[in-house]
Symmetry: C2
Subunit: 149 residues, 2 copies
Amino acid sequence: MVSVSNQEDAILSRLRGEGYKITPQRRAIVRAILSSDEYVTPELLLIKARQAFPSLGRVTVYRTLDILSQLGLLCTLHPEGHHPGYTLGRLDHHHHVVCSGCGRVSDFSEHGLEELEKRLSRETGFKIEGHILEFLGLCPQCQETNNEK
Amino acid sequence: MVSVSNQEDAILSRLRGEGYKITPQRRAIVRAILSSDEYVTPELLLIKARQAFPSLGRVTVYRTLDILSQLGLLCTLHPEGHHPGYTLGRLDHHHHVVCSGCGRVSDFSEHGLEELEKRLSRETGFKIEGHILEFLGLCPQCQETNNEK
DNA sequence: GTCATTGCAAATCGTTTGCAGCGCC
DNA sequence: GGCGCTGCAAACGATTTGCAATGAC
């Protein structure tokens, strides 16, 4: 298990290594993503990161997300009926389960898809380049909250 | 294999059955979706459907897509790097392969996911409600076009 | 004839861009 | 001290809403 502060360091030094400067804004944004186990939207991220850096501009959030995204540090999520959002990626290939109640994200690995890719290539003639696999459901906490109602 | 005109009738009578009126606009939109094997965006659909009904308004396209979507007749696609779009759904559960070149959509069935859902429920405690599984790749035609370059 | 449907224009939402000043390295 | 970064304001594209006229049944 990697601790959050280690993850933060890893991301920041990756940024530095790519020639980007480490500003308090970027630090606040990265920390805000790391501190939530829900997935984040730009708007949510702005609110969270402003707690640490109140004068943070909305534009900076978008620009930082762009950078992280280009470096492959973010995963995009498409929860049905919700706005698309982001969560921090791991280095290995993996997938997500998103809570439809609170947005909490859990991840898992699954390697059976390569088999399926081959079958699809054969059946459809497509040259497969990638895939999206996401599950939507209720996390344990939200299941309980639902039952209380 | 179900013919396109049968599909059209099926969709229109479903609409009628739900209390919606069959207008030439809706007919043109439904036909436009059916006549493309690529997935459609609202904008693209507007252009296509206007060939049959030139005075069609953009708003009507959005409203019709909403209705079809609520009735479960549409599938949403999330091709990476492109705008999200729609394709007509089949009644049974299935998934899509989208061409990153031209947007052509091919569909397939896969039942191995129920197994995976169970595993995830067990491992994460989430109550799984649904999933997205989409493949992105190049269709046979676009592979050829690429090679010619 | 009634009431859903339409299309326009305007409002709105999320995101991107131009630009002048600021601050990290 | 230079150049990348920031934040404002304005632009932008996609979608939604208010409303009066229209047309399907």
